[in-house]
């Protein structure tokens, strides 16, 4: 372990043994936390201790640990991913916390994201929304030359900004309404800004919204809490793009 301050933290963590088991906030003391650790490494240290004492370690989702996969998902002191601009929980470092601080750690809270265990939620609802229309239909055959299709820089940039979404669900977790609009909008905006995706833009907006509604997410009230917590800093501008696409296609279908 490299140099750096060592701290002790008072954790309050949501523990729930299974989808239908009752859950509760449980207190732990995290000792020997190095300030250079990431938030997940801090939990690894806590889990190491728990294992030694025979207690079940705290379950949490993680994969890449470099802010690109969207697996890590925890609400830290009331803010999904902890509230540092453009940062996922796995990229959040303990130096942002004070020695002796209380830290509340909870799972994403939404009817559409049921808890599987502790901090792990089932986010398959997002997969079903993608399956309902978050794709581009292409015919098989000889692959066209990638550069044969000119795309204006402005469109490419807008598509790319929206494509940055890693589907973590922080937008849902932060929203007072537990709305999935920023996620759905990012996908719709991303695909509708490319010539290949434009073709199905209207149908896509309608089928994805129908699936979003069926999954039980809330409606959008433009609080912009989603934008504030998005680790990829996706703007609520994409929600306006989606609304426009949706209204247009509902009226013209």
């Amino acid at each position: 372990m490299t140099t750096g301050k060592t701290m002790t933290l008072k954790l309050h963590v949501w523990r729930q043994a299974g989808p239908n088991a009752p859950g509760k906030m449980t207190d732990y003391v995290a000792n020997n936390v190095n300030e250079h650790m990431s938030f997940l490494e801090m939990l690894d240290v806590v889990n190491e201790e728990l294992t030694k004492t025979g207690e079940e370690p705290i379950a949490f989702d993680h994969d890449c640990r470099e802010g690109i996969c969207g697996a890590c998902s925890m609400v830290i002191n009331g803010i999904p991913h902890g509230g540092h601009k453009g940062v996922t929980a796995c990229q959040l470092h303990m130096r942002h916390f004070q020695d002796g601080q209380d830290i509340y750690i909870e799972p994403w809270r939404a009817k559409a994201f049921p808890v599987i265990r502790d901090l792990v939620t089932n986010r398959s609802a997002f997969d079903r929304i993608i399956a309902s229309g978050g794709y581009v239909s292409v015919n098989t055959g000889g692959a066209p030359d990638a550069n044969a299709l000119p795309i204006p820089k402005k469109d490419a940039d807008q598509a790319f900004d929206a494509a940055a979404c890693i589907g973590c669900g922080a937008c849902v977790a932060a929203c007072k309404n537990a709305s999935a609009m920023l996620f759905v909008a990012a996908k719709v905006s991303h695909l509708s800004h490319t010539p290949q995706g434009k073709v199905e833009a209207g149908d896509r907006a309608r089928t994805m919204i129908a699936q979003m509604d069926a999954e039980g997410f809330g409606t959008c009230s433009n609080y912009s809490q989603c934008e504030a917590v998005c680790p990829k800093e996706i703007s609520v501008k994409v929600i306006a793009d989606l609304n426009r696409e949706y209204i247009k296609s509902s009226l013209l279908k």
Partner: protein
């Protein structure tokens, strides 16, 4: 080539237009479009109403003659009333419905209060809206139906038309500080509802621009509080004796 992925999607829809509108209203985005469109309508009435009210500064003759002419044009009055009778229930109904939806979408609350940033006015739209609706009913009972304050209502003839002395009714009404304060409080509440409402309705119908959306947010404050200030100036002027009976 026949199994194209897009085959799963609705290709052609022959549902009648009215049915389609109803279906749209029942989706999450559609309900908000309804709120935005009815909101614009209510805004329009709100501005007209304030312009009419400001005639109080021109004195009893101008004010009363405007009121008498308005009442002598029932077509105009009833078009506005019917529009409002459609807009308000749709606006409030969609608000309640979408709020219930939102509550159901988060059955388990956070132990640590959600701290992600949002304009406090935006999170209290339902409360501010319902309080304003209550105020509107009170206001109608007061100045339209004369359920109370009836002794302040006097019938007059102006420009050959029978009418009530609106000027006198308003001045005597606002000379009672409690009533004046209720009006002032309601306007402040409404202004903060409209600040979020104005920005929100642009967003709900898909109007967004990197260069002008921030300006819309600022303009919302100016417009909402500006119109509220216009309304509020009337009870204040009466309270401080700037507007009084001739």
């Amino acid at each position: 080539m026949s199994s194209n992925a897009s085959d799963a999607r609705p290709v052609q829809d022959t549902t009648p237009l009215l049915m389609q509108t109803w279906q749209l209203m029942n989706t999450s985005i559609g309900a908000k479009v309804v709120m935005a469109v009815t909101g614009v309508g209510i805004w329009f009435w709100f501005l007209t109403h304030m312009a009419g009210n400001l005639m109080i500064y021109a004195g009893p003759e101008v004010m009363n003659s405007y009121a008498a002419k308005l009442h002598a044009t029932p077509a105009l009055l009833w078009v506005a009333r019917i529009a409002l009778l459609i807009a308000f229930p749709l606006h409030i109904g969609s608000a309640i419905r979408t709020n219930l939806h939102a509550k159901a979408a988060r059955p388990v609350a956070y132990a640590y209060e959600n701290r992600s940033q949002a304009n406090p006015g935006s999170k209290t739209m339902l409360i501010s809206g319902l309080l304003v609706a209550t105020f509107i009913l009170y206001h109608l009972a007061h100045f339209t139906w004369h359920w109370f304050g009836a002794d302040n209502v006097r019938t007059i003839t102006i420009d050959g038309l029978q009418g009530i002395d609106t000027y006198r009714m308003v001045v005597l009404g606002f000379q009672q500080p409690v009533i004046a304060l209720i009006y002032i409080a309601a306007q402040i509440l409404l202004a903060q509802h409209l600040v979020h409402g104005l920005y929100s309705m642009c967003q709900h119908v898909g109007l967004w621009g990197a260069s002008w959306t921030p300006a819309v947010k600022r303009a919302a404050y100016v417009l909402a509080y500006g119109v509220a200030a216009g309304f509020i100036s009337i009870p204040l002027s009466v309270m401080f004796g700037l507007v009084k009976l001739p």
